[in-house]
Amino acid sequence: MPKITVQYFAILREQRGLSEESLDTTESNPANLYAKLAAQHGFTLPSKSLRVAINDEFASMDQSLKDGDAVTFIAPVAGG
């Protein structure tokens, strides 16, 4: 089963209660992975408001995940 690292920042970090975790998962893409994690941990942000980064690059929510990927779900930003 592919091993994926998930990083959390800001509201997602607080709702998850940690900054990073390693998961063995069969979810095929970030969208499915987020849906599963949201159900498990009660994330309040809907999937459509998120962007995702894979290995520190912006990516698509339906990009295939492969073993070793680092996935970051990016809540709506608010810099400045």
Partner: protein, 136 residues
């Protein structure tokens, strides 16, 4: 140069301009005391540093390609900031003022909408709230 920094931006030197520069426009985004009628005591910024620095550099490169400017810099703080502190500074230098204004505003807008930095408001009374995280 796009950088995230824990230092007080106010204390950093501004970049020196080459002699072909006729206009410098500086934007400073400052923590203010009120937002949506809430009394703000402090702001907490959190960044995904790896991607923020990359995306910030991309925005500056786009500004340099899109506008006839000489240089563009952006510094964004992270961590806890008090009211009155500078959270972001953008400095654009160009031969002429019109392009310096246009590029500076472009960079600020893009940073605010694209760079993975998040902001949590701390209100008087102790409540906190992540900005932009509720109304999607």
């Amino acid at each position: 140069m796009f950088s995230l920094t824990p230092f007080r931006i106010e204390d950093l030197p501004k970049p020196a301009a080459p002699s072909s520069v006729g206009a410098t426009v500086i934007f400073e985004g400052i923590v203010r005391d009120v937002n949506d009628d809430h009394q703000v005591e402090a702001l907490e910024y959190e960044a995904m540093e790896s991607l923020a620095v990359k995306e910030g550099a991309k925005i500056l490169a786009q500004a340099l390609a899109k506008f006839p400017i000489e240089s563009a810099e952006c510094i964004h703080r992270t961590g806890l900031l008090q009211v009155g502190e500078v959270a972001i500074r953008v400095v654009v230098s160009a031969a002429h003022r019109k392009e310096a204004f246009g590029a500076c505003e472009f960079i600020v807008n893009e940073v605010k909408s694209r760079v993975p930095i998040w902001k949590k408001e701390h209100y008087s009374g102790g409540a906190t709230e992540w900005i932009n995280a509720d109304q999607m």
